[in-house]
């Protein structure tokens, strides 16, 4: 799954740790999502979407879509 999390985070000037704290996950999770090694759960995707005031589809995109 492709993710725009890194761009959105950097646009806000947040570190991976800052975003991890806001999403209540570990920094390793944020890094794994940004590097597309891990697909977030639906609740975590909703949390990220709410944090950036966007829809899930605007942040995450399925490969091949």
């Amino acid at each position: 799954m492709k993710s725009k999390l890194r761009e959105l985070r950097e646009a806000k000037g947040w570190s991976q740790s800052d975003l991890a704290d806001k999403l209540d996950v570990s920094r390793q999770t944020v890094n794994a999502i940004e590097t597309e090694k891990y697909d977030p759960s639906l609740p975590l995707a909703f949390k990220a979407a709410r944090l950036f005031k966007m829809s899930i589809e605007d942040i995450f995109e399925l490969d091949g879509d």
Binding site: S17, A20, D21, D24, S26, T29, K37, S41
Partner: protein, 154 residues
């Protein structure tokens, strides 16, 4: 990197640069693993007791022989609680490591049984792996699995 119960379940609100370096915590690991130590101690203790008291009746022998099972169940409960408190990626890593450990241990136990069934004796292990050997296999494969799977998400 292998995680202890403490550093997997407690997230500091401080940015990482401001956090003190995380150290191994004996207290946190004991809190998680105390029932495993009790189970292993009881397993050795019951073996010695049963060896030295062959005159005991069967119900008493059974109670002593099965005594490690209760702390083992309590250990499984504390591990389940520890895994539930994790971050979702860490939970996946630990569950995959547990699966790796289970499959690895089954593989080794099956290999020993196959060798035994065909009359091939392994020095010092001719009676099979036993309870302690199987447990040691699970532990070794769990740590190996944790390292391999953690590396995948780095």
């Amino acid at each position: 990197m292998l995680y202890t119960g403490r550093n997997m379940n407690s997230k500091s609100i401080l940015p990482e640069s401001a956090q003190p370096e995380r150290h191994y915590s004996f207290q946190a690991d004991m809190k998680l693993n105390v029932w495993a130590f009790v189970a292993v101690a009881l397993a050795f203790w019951s073996r010695i007791l049963l060896k030295h008291h062959p005159e005991w009746n069967d119900p008493l022998r059974a109670a002593v022989a099965l005594s490690p099972l209760l702390p083992s169940l309590l250990y499984v409960r504390s591990v389940a609680k520890w895994i539930r408190g994790m971050d979702e990626l860490q939970r996946r890593i630990q569950l995959e490591a547990c699966l790796f450990a289970t499959v690895g241990a089954i593989f080794v136990v099956t290999a020993f049984d196959l060798l035994k069934a065909h009359g091939i004796q392994i020095p010092r292990l001719h009676a099979g792996l036993g309870w302690e050997g199987t447990f040691a296999c699970v532990v070794v494969f769990y740590f190996l699995g944790s390292v391999i799977i953690n590396r995948r998400y780095k």
